[in-house]
């Protein structure tokens, strides 16, 4: 694959590099890990293979060889040879074909996986791009026009699929086409469906360590009011605009301590920030709540201007939600493997 136009912020991402936080290196990885994992499954890859994370406005790229790709996550209206590229399914594309993504109509981040995965060099155990540390991906930076992305070798199932779809494209009655895709597709896990609507995104949260130190009014506002995603949001954090969330009067400062993605920290007198995949490893702001892990894929799809509402759950509910989502992913993996075997 070669990049013709880079889009707003396109990076190579996998599932991150946990294990280096003690050295100040964030976990990183795809903000919407479920979308990347699904795209990988659809092209016969390991779920953690490296793919592209597209942000707000996608890139234009050309296949230098024939490819098997899948696009999941935000709807960026990708076009291929003047036709809409079907999402959430494996797509064979002929060598020389150009794919053009547009701005995100729904969601914020789309993921493109290609059979074999992007063979970027791994740094600290991950091929994912950490732009702050300048490691992973292509020279630790977002992609630019002219970047050529080498791919690993496709799995036997993916190669078989590629051949089947290529034959289907060649046999079209209206003449040979430059792409082909099956009629079936892989929808997102049940828990994520229906929570993002045009009127807002509902995120489940559990109380943070300092929840009780916020005023009653702040805790009520968190659960009753809507918050708007601010333009300064990125992979480090989603910044929110909304009602003030005051703490009880106290001048006690917290010592710096570990924080993780999903943590909602509220700087004194400031606007809340929901930490993202590239968040700093330690922080010292009071933690009002945490977006639960099962809903981090929804957080990844919040774009500036979107409205967010929060819903309180317990730790037990949060963990059950995650385990259910992992069960759904195992079932999805099995279903896709079956489709690929049947061919």
């Amino acid at each position: 694959m070669r990049i013709l136009k880079p889009g707003l912020h396109t990076t190579i991402q996998d599932l991150g590099r946990a294990g280096w936080r003690a050295f100040g290196i964030p976990e990183g990885g795809a903000m919407d890990s479920i979308a990347l994992r699904t795209a990988n499954l659809l092209v016969g890859n390991d779920q953690g293979a490296a793919g592209l994370e597209l942000t707000l406005t996608g890139p234009q790229l050309v296949a230098e060889k024939e490819l098997l790709i899948a696009v999941c996550g935000a709807g960026m209206a990708p076009f291929i040879d003047g036709e809409p590229l079907p999402l959430e399914r494996p797509v064979w594309i002929a060598a020389g074909t150009v794919i053009t993504f547009g701005p995100a109509a729904s969601g914020c981040r789309a993921y493109l996986a290609a059979a074999g995965g992007i063979a970027a060099e791994a740094a600290l155990g991950s091929r994912g791009t950490d732009t702050r540390a300048g490691i992973g991906g292509v020279a630790g930076r977002p992609l630019r026009a002219g970047d050529v992305l080498p791919l690993g070798s496709a799995s036997p199932q993916a190669a078989a699929w590629r051949a089947t779809l290529a034959a289907r494209a060649a046999a079209k009655p209206q003449g040979r086409r430059s792409w082909a895709a099956p009629g079936w597709f892989a929808p997102p896990p049940a828990q994520l469906r229906g929570r993002a609507t045009p009127s807002g995104i509902r995120l489940r949260v559990m109380p943070g360590a300092e929840y009780g130190q916020f005023r009653e009014a702040a805790r009520t506002a968190l659960l009753r009011e809507r918050f708007r995603v601010a333009p300064a949001s990125d992979r480090m954090g989603v910044r929110l605009e909304g009602p003030p969330l005051p703490l009880e009067d106290s001048d006690q400062e917290l010592l710096s301590h570990g924080v993780i993605a999903g943590t909602i920290q509220v700087p004194r007198g400031g606007a809340p920030i929901i930490l993202g995949a590239d968040c700093q490893t330690t922080g010292g702001y009071p933690k009002l709540a945490h977006v639960i892990t099962a809903d981090l894929p929804l957080l990844a799809q919040c774009k500036p201007g979107d409205d967010i509402a929060f819903e309180l759950v317990t730790l037990a509910e949060a963990q059950r939600g995650y385990m259910e989502q992992e069960r759904d992913m195992r079932m999805l993996a099995a279903a896709i493997a079956l489709r690929m075997r049947k061919n």
């Binding site: 003690a22 100040g24 290196i25 301590h257 945490h290």
Partner: protein, 242 residues
């Protein structure tokens, strides 16, 4: 050598940090020195090599453990949630590590070229402290520092041990680029910039050592708990390697 439990009279408590991490919060009558306990406990949690522990992060008075719920051995019949299973395991490891001996810290020597092009703020810092430049640099290089924790940016060490008379205010307007390796002072702390980045610390020197090099077998030169000495070098001996 003292055992970890004798370092300072400390106790700990466990609490969830979201749904996939927990925090061991340390407490003692005197907060100073708790980071040594945190570094030692982080080491015992890491060396337990449990496959469900994804990450261990020591800080000033806490250790954060990030865990992988799906890999935890849970007895569903017991009705335990993953957090409870993780907390029970962490309790077990911490109880055991109370008896282990505190490690003797590694001593890392960091060569520094003080002043001149490499330390553009040394003259002003020395003037504020009422000292000659050479005396200021010598005082900075004669102290032994400890790495209390690493954070803020990849490989950035929070150092304890700056002689109080060397304390400095932050720059009124931060530099847009501070070169990697710069040694600075802000407030009562001294530190080393591992990467080139904007920054507001007073720069008194620079080391040719690379604190972070992803190509090295040990990518990071420093870790929490290390002891550190600055060794003055001349500008002509400043060669960028590690």
């Amino acid at each position: 050598m003292n055992s970890v439990s004798e370092l300072v009279g400390w106790t700990y408590s466990l609490a969830p940090l979201g749904d996939r991490a927990l925090v061991v919060t340390l407490e003692s009558k005197s907060e100073s020195g708790l980071w040594q306990v945190a570094a030692a406990l982080a080491e015992s949690l890491r060396s337990a090599r449990l496959h469900w522990i994804a990450d261990v992060v020591p800080a000033y008075a806490s250790v954060t453990v990030v865990y992988d719920m799906a890999r935890l051995p849970i007895h569903e019949t017991a009705g335990a949630i993953p957090y409870e299973a993780a907390a029970a395991e962490v309790h077990r490891i911490l109880k055991r590590s109370r008896e282990t001996e505190a490690a003797i810290p590694r001593v890392v020597d960091i060569p520094v070229c003080y002043g001149g092009l490499y330390g553009p703020d040394l003259a002003a810092c020395a003037a504020r402290a009422g000292m000659e430049e050479a005396a200021f640099a010598e005082r900075h290089a004669s102290a032994i520092y400890r790495v209390a924790m690493i954070g803020f940016m990849p490989g950035f060490p929070y150092l304890t041990g700056l002689p109080p008379e060397l304390g400095q205010p932050r720059l009124a307007s931060p530099r847009s680029v501070v070169p990697a390796g710069s040694v600075g002072i802000a407030g009562g702390q001294t530190g080393i910039y591992p990467l080139s980045t904007p920054g507001g610390w007073q720069l008194i020197g620079r080391t040719p050592f690379r604190l972070f090099d992803p190509e090295r077998s040990e990518p990071f030169l420093l870790r929490a708990g290390d002891a550190l000495r600055f060794v003055p070098i001349r500008a002509e001996d400043f060669t960028c390697e590690s």
